[in-house]
């Protein structure tokens, strides 16, 4: 039985994992970089060990250091969270070699699912629909043309070695095929030194829908229904919800079965996610598998009523799953909003800095998973995610209303955040109607970036507050210099209730 878990992560997810550890009477061990000494995960843990300089490659990605801390602290297991080493097959293997339980799948499953083309082949083998296209690298121009004709337009040409949109071309018209292939190949060669490409059918109004699965070490696999993740900005998820407004019970059941089959095909163990791309007619295709906990896992927890981290630990303890498929159902609706330290008024520029003041939204149906506190300085080195608001309602309408109420009351000063942008999404007719796909943000850009103006006397009260605050500071400063009363005594700023206290 696991008695002590090292959480090889930081930020909200480290704390989220430690919360469940505490509920299960398991001790938690934090690791931290130079930049994170004051971070909440260090303060929340039972024990904390320094593992190196601020850049992640020298700390949170340093396998040797983390294994070393696991041994020194006597941790039985390591929970990788998401990001960092969570999908690193080498790390999973190293844990196994060192006799430490890795809370996640074995290195084989991670490797298979980590390579796009291998994953695609494996899924075809398991009878799971994949986006029509090539399963091999293509180098010859004419072969590509033939394949495209076979698949049917539109298609996307992607660099095999690629990523980040480089060497990628979308082709709508027959006459553009050749020039697009040439352009993609030459761009791929320039960027990666390899001009091989592969081709996939382009889904023109794509929905991103994923299924949560849990698999134990005894061959049992269940799914916990879907999450709709189509609200994305530059391929980064912004808002997720469950159930998907697009879904029907029949398709849900079928996709769920395919998700379970996908996990079984790779002898999966632990919590994982099968991502599908879905068109408007509910045709769905395997996209990829995330072999870890997702950022958006709480909406599933809320609607299905299962603590996914608790289940991960159960599975890592070699116990059989606590739930059978037929016991699970979706109760109500949940939406997650990700709050990033980014400035929506300046093209979402990262906004690290010192948190001056926070008001957290609370009340019925609101869960808030965060890690920052007043006086904490968000470091420049890591992900800009500050926190996640997860809201539940008996139906989608009530959930949206509640999320608006929560965003309204959520205040952070000191850094710029995406809160107001998220509020605009909640008011966008396409979101309210549930009629959206991955183009939503692009399509609604003008609406989303048009800030509402206060019609009342907002500016007047702002001016009065600034004036008053300035005058009080002047008074305080004059008192300090004017009289000799500061006698090295016991009087400090801010001890009087509610007086101006910077």
């Amino acid at each position: 039985m696991i008695r002590k878990i090292l959480v090889a992560n930081r930020g909200e997810i480290a704390i989220r994992v430690m919360r469940t550890c505490r509920e299960m009477d398991i001790l938690s061990v934090a690791v931290f970089s130079d930049a994170d000494r004051t971070s909440m995960h260090v303060r929340y843990a039972d024990e904390a060990y320094h593992i190196g300089p601020s850049p992640s490659v020298e700390s949170y990605l340093n396998i040797d250091r983390i294994i070393d801390v696991a041994k020194r602290s006597g941790a039985d297991a390591i929970h990788p969270g998401y990001g960092f080493l969570s999908e690193n097959a080498q790390f999973s293997r190293r844990c196994r070699e060192e006799g430490i339980i890795f809370i996640g799948p074995g290195p084989e499953a991670i490797s298979t699912m980590g390579d796009k083309i291998t994953a695609r082949k494996t899924m075809i083998q398991a009878g799971i629909p994949v986006v029509p296209g090539t399963t091999e690298k293509i180098t010859a121009e004419n072969r590509a043309v033939g394949i495209i004709r076979e698949i049917g337009l539109p298609v996307i040409i992607k660099a095999s070695a690629g990523g980040g949109g480089k060497g990628m071309r979308l082709v709508h018209r027959e006459e553009d095929i050749l020039s697009a292939i040439r352009a993609a190949k030459s761009e791929a060669m320039a960027a990666f030194g390899d001009d091989s490409v592969y081709i996939e059918k382009y889904i023109s109004s794509p929905h991103h829908i994923e299924f949560q699965i849990l698999a134990d070490n005894h061959g049992n696999v269940i799914h916990l229904f879907e999450r709709e993740c189509s609200i994305q900005r530059r391929h980064q998820k912004v808002i997720e919800e469950t159930p998907s407004p697009l879904m029907t019970p029949e398709v849900r059941e079928e996709m769920g079965k395919h998700a379970v089959a996908a996990a079984k095909e790779v002898n999966y163990s632990g919590a994982g996610t099968i991502e599908f791309i879905v068109d408007d007619h509910l045709n769905y295709f395997f996209l990829e598998m995330n072999t870890r906990l997702q950022v958006e896992h709480p909406i599933t927890e809320r609607v299905v009523g299962v603590d996914l981290v608790r289940e991960q630990i159960h599975i890592a303890n070699n116990q059989p799953l606590t739930y059978r498929q037929e016991e699970l159902y979706q109760n109500g609706h949940a939406i997650e909003c990700r709050i990033y330290a980014e400035d929506p008024d300046r093209d979402f520029m990262p906004s690290p800095g010192l948190i001056q003041h926070i008001t957290e939204p609370l009340g019925f149906g609101v869960r808030h998973d965060g890690y920052v506190y007043e006086g904490f300085e968000i470091p420049i080195y890591y992900d800009p995610l500050i926190s996640k608001l997860i809201v539940w309602g008996k139906n989608r309408t009530e959930t949206i209303q509640r999320m608006k109420r929560a965003l309204y009351a959520y205040k952070i000063t000191g850094v710029k955040t995406t809160i107001k942008f998220l509020e605009k999404i909640m008011n966008a007719p396409d979101f309210v109607s549930g009629n959206y796909n991955t183009h939503f943000i692009e399509k609604n850009w003008d609406f989303l970036t048009d800030r509402e103006k206060c019609l009342g006397d907002c500016m007047a009260v702002a001016i009065i507050a600034a004036y008053y605050d300035y005058m009080e500071r002047m008074k305080a400063a004059q008192e300090k210099t004017g009289t000799g009363r500061t006698t090295g005594s016991w009087k400090f700023c801010g001890r009087k209730a509610g007086m101006s206290r910077y």
Binding site: M349, I380, Y381, K453, A466, Y468, M471
Partner: protein, 168 residues
């Protein structure tokens, strides 16, 4: 005391006419406001005006005598224009065109410096790359320029609004 405040592109005259406890009578550009104002949390004032309830959040700006102010849907940048501030602003305006700096709009780490003093750069050319929160931003010149001096080196950590390169 009367004061001028620069907000949202215009200068506003404000004066406290009367105060009794937390009830203030204030004139803004000649218009009278009676408000109930109390400091509640660090940098937060609760203001009741015509029985409407406002929470006004003040964050001291990076420069002295400035604030970033948030009301519910609006954010304002405010400059308190006392006599010292006016004097400094006057001086600053005079010397404005002499030279310019390329500054980082956000805190981060300098990943690459692509120029050295004496270089001539063309409009749109990147001079420095700064990384923050897993995102790299390229800082470019808008016009052709001569690089006068470079104030940072690779690996440096920079603040928001810190000058990186001085151009002519």
């Amino acid at each position: 005391m009367a004061l001028e405040i620069y907000i949202d592109g215009r200068m506003i005259a404000i004066e406290l006419l009367h105060q009794k406890g937390n009830i203030l009578k204030v004139s803004i550009d000649g218009k009278l406001y009676e408000v109930d104002l109390v400091p509640v949390e660090k940098g937060v004032y609760s203001i009741l005006y015509k029985n409407k309830s406002y929470n006004v959040e003040l964050v001291p700006g990076k420069k002295p005598k400035t604030y970033e102010i948030n009301t519910l849907y609006n954010s304002y940048h405010v400059d308190i224009m006392d006599s010292e501030a006016k004097y400094l602003k006057g001086r600053h305006d005079d010397h404005m065109d002499d030279k310019e700096a390329i500054s980082s709009p956000m805190p981060g780490k300098v990943v690459k410096v692509l120029v050295k003093p004496g270089d001539r750069v063309k409009a749109g050319e990147t001079v420095v790359i700064v990384s923050a929160m897993k995102m790299e931003s390229e800082y470019k010149v808008k016009k052709d320029h001569l690089i006068r001096s470079v104030l940072v080196k690779e690996g440096d950590t920079v603040d928001g609004n810190q000058p990186l390169v001085i151009i002519e």
